[in-house]
Subunit: 390 residues, 2 copies
């Protein structure tokens, strides 16, 4: 069992009736707000009006950064940072899903740094301890950005999608109203659900790493929640219970409660970021294609018992199977979940991706080293996994 | 499902090798430290020397409040508050178990208030939002005080044991080294373990309150952890894994992760505080005697399925029993756990307690109202439960 530090100061308002606390929470940081949002869905579903009314009543000076992309671009974050400097912004209010919140984090880190390009910070790879305060209003259950210290930023000039991380990036306050997900299409719901699921799976004890029994069981409980509620939310987009379970699962998956005593893993995430960087596909969809191939690739005598347990606990596969057969049953169940239950296309080929860039992507994914996890993945391994996805 | 706010800014250093961070963390609050501890066990087991060496190297001015009682007295907290005011203390460092940390919280709240008697604050019952910063070094897995916003203070003049609560009382930093529990006797280990267990059981969904499936499963996982590791820690006091599991279970039981979507219950705790107030018994022991009687008292058609599930999930009782039989099996398993596995005496009579004060205690416990939970308990109910414990 590893020593660890648990620290997550984010204050989360979760539920239907709490958005009225937004002005009071923002006021703690000041009066000048940069409102960050995406392509306009929040204008259609009324959330924009709710938030801007509250800001108006609260007497805030509001500036806007809109049009944040699904894989948020460094150039967009830089635009936001320029507004913050010019206007003396006190607090950044991100209203949207993970991409919007990640973009806000890029803005927040850049403003207090000595560069005007977030990409300099991304490339430097240093921990971000200081940033403008971020308040998030969440509209999608997926990335966990509402409660974590990570932002993933894309540079389409260089085909790179890289992470910026540090305690300074944890939102100070987050508002999570499951109703704000009611207008999400089934495909976005499915991709978000797989993202949540994979945050936990990437971190599961496949290499037999010791952790607390209870934390392992927490991880399994969060994955089961996704398996149970994602199809309900897809079928019944206004099912509060389903949306609420997915939303809190999103936060729990990455707020580091599930990390206690573990070494946090992110193999599939590292490989998927290259797919999104090169092809701008939806992150959760890329993960759904990669995850079962990754498990198949790392399956061996050592990892089989854990993969088999994962199947039993999360999908109810047959507990009496010998470990290797149990692991294969688990992987098959994961494929069924991603490609049938969630209805996601099962190959990269179907997304129009071929092997043209696999070699370069694999090298990027490893960042000059290897991807750690149950089996260390060198570029040749990653390339092999990409090929399994065709 | 209820709306909720999740906010726990405590920074926890968990493990063997992290105490070296203590000076840096204290320094964030200032140079003048009030060191609070109990009866001297930390002098015998070396923790006092470790901590005071670090304080000395860090150049802190250190004042001491020692001799904190197992059920900490309001008079002791008042003594600490007087030192803080006289010396201009910046931060309170509690080194000990829950009683020591609770006393430190009483001190911290009083110093910034307009009274010099913590009992005034206890009686006022207002939420404590401001207090001197508290840093905790934990030496017992039990109360969860290292990560929660509660302090329980006893007034032996009036036979009262009451809680003080609020966000200001959450420690800013906690150090949890499982090795610091190695010298705990088996009886203290058992009492601490039952305290952890009961924090979760008091909060379990016995009235069928909706919560997240995953949170219910988290609760069960924490209780299973106690059931598994308490007897190991009693038998092998230097078993790191057992101590670590109990310690993190202690924090998880009350850091509000397990509260999401629930109404936090504390029926047994409310009833036990009267036992400790009148007879100064060990809190966890009182809980172990009360909990099965409470379950038996609230058992009915409505609560039976939840109590039965509790038995199945936590103790592995027979899942095929009908609800009422399953619930009785669960209660029997709980008695076996408390009175055989943990070796705690099973009746108040064996602790030298008779019914002399039951009527007054029951009225105190209800505080002029009822104890909420799966069945609202009026004074007559509480008195009946006390009598079942004889």
């Amino acid at each position: 069992m590893n020593d660890f530090i648990f620290h997550n100061p984010d204050k989360v308002y979760f539920g239907k009736n709490l958005i009225g606390n937004l002005p009071r929470e923002l006021k703690k940081f000041g009066d000048k707000v940069l409102l960050v949002y995406g392509g306009g869905s929040i204008r259609r579903n009324g959330i924009y009006d709710t938030v801007t009314s509250l800001l108006k009543e609260g007497g805030f000076s509001v500036f806007e950064l809109s049009g944040v992309e699904p894989n948020p671009r460094h150039a967009t974050a830089n635009k936001g940072a320029a507004i913050c400097r010019r206007e003396g912004i006190d607090v950044i209010l991100a209203v949207g899903g993970g991409s919007t919140i990640d973009c806000a984090k890029g803005v927040a880190a850049t403003v207090v740094s000595d560069t005007d390009d977030v990409w300099d910070l991304v490339k430097a790879g240093e921990e971000i301890e200081r940033a403008l305060p971020i308040v998030a209003v969440l509209t999608n259950a997926a990335t966990g950005s509402e409660m974590d210290g990570w932002a993933v930023i894309s540079n389409m000039d260089t085909n790179e999608k890289l992470a910026l991380g540090g305690s300074g990036l944890i939102p100070r306050v987050a508002f999570e109203n499951p109703e704000y997900c009611y207008s999400l299409p089934a495909y976005q719901t499915a991709c978000g659900a797989f993202d949540i699921f994979n945050h936990v799976l990437d971190n599961y004890y496949l290499a037999g790493d010791a952790t607390f029994d209870m934390i392992l069981e927490f991880q399994e409980a969060v994955m089961r929640t996704v398996v149970k509620y994602a199809p309900i939310a897809m079928r019944e987009p206004k099912n509060y219970e389903a949306r609420a379970n997915l939303m809190w699962a999103s936060s729990m998956a990455l707020n580091t409660v599930l990390d206690a005593g573990t070494v946090h893993g992110c193999a599939c995430h590292a490989m998927e970021h290259e797919l999104s960087a090169y092809y701008d596909i939806t992150h959760g969809h890329g993960l759904a294609i990669l995850a079962p191939r990754w498990l198949r690739y790392v399956l061996n005598e050592t990892t089989a018992p854990a993969i088999a347990r994962f199947g039993v606990k999360v999908f109810g596969t047959d507990a009496s199977l010998p470990p290797m057969d149990g692991a294969l049953a688990a992987i098959a169940a994961l494929e069924t979940f991603g490609f049938e239950t969630l209805g996601l296309k099962g190959t990269l080929t179907e997304l129009g991706i071929d092997d043209t860039h696999f070699k370069a992507m694999a090298e990027h994914a490893c960042g000059g080293s290897v991807i750690t996890g149950p089996k260390a993945l060198a570029p040749a391994d990653v390339e092999a996994i990409y090929k399994m996805c065709l």
